[in-house]
Amino acid sequence: MTTCLNATDKAIVKAFWAKVSGQADAIGADALSRMLVVYPQTKTYFSHWKDLSPGSAQVKKHGKTIMTGIATAVANVDDLDAGLLSLSELHAFTLRVDPANFKVLSHNILVVLAIMFPKDFTPEVHVALDKFLAAVALALSEKYR
């Protein structure tokens, strides 16, 4: 099951991504840092890390990994279920992240985008990205049960 993103949503997402993808690493690192600080329960998934503080080497590296996933999603926006199949399997069978946390990370990605690109993160872009991240979360949850 895929959430329906209409043609306008997809166009907005692709255009905005083209603008911001050059800073993907910074976006990922900041979003992850914020999630770990603002929602401490998410730290339970990273108990094997040495340093969970904002901007630590591990946080930066993992932020980059997450944004690579987002880039994959943008490139596969016309069929997120297919495009994110292996990532869904990873999250379902190996990582077993409670899918409620996808919403939490999405919120922090939006906050970072608002901070870094206040003029471009208009209400129209905001709603398109909110829908997109919700669709990504849904696709990632596909294989859970």
Partner: protein, 147 residues
Amino acid sequence: MVRWTDKERSTIRALWEQINIDEIGPEALRRVLIVYPWTERYFGTFGDIFTVTAILQNSKVAAHGKVVLKAVGQAVENMDNIKDTYATLSRLHYEKLHVDPDNFRLLADCITIAVACKLRSALDPQAQAVWQKFLSAVVDAMSSQYY
């Protein structure tokens, strides 16, 4: 009752000082109506709020945004008594306005995003954490008189 450290109190006050109610209020309410369009159901008397352009230009939306954020200011002044501060408003939103309290959470998220656009890196991760703790207390208080 929510417990606040001295650092949290000063963080909230410092953030609030940088927040222009006349700017952030309208911005937050516009975003709520655009990002979560079902919230339009509560504003039947506001005229045209059915397109992005109409919402952005609607003067009643802007005026009401200011009213809402001014009310948030009451929590800043009464941080040790947030629940009592909003008891009457909460009852009003339940009995007369019939607002689903989940919408308070959506509005809180839009206020945070509007604040993030304005304050940018001044809203660092720790400040965001305290700010969201504060807004959660407001949301809980607004939901408290639903029975």
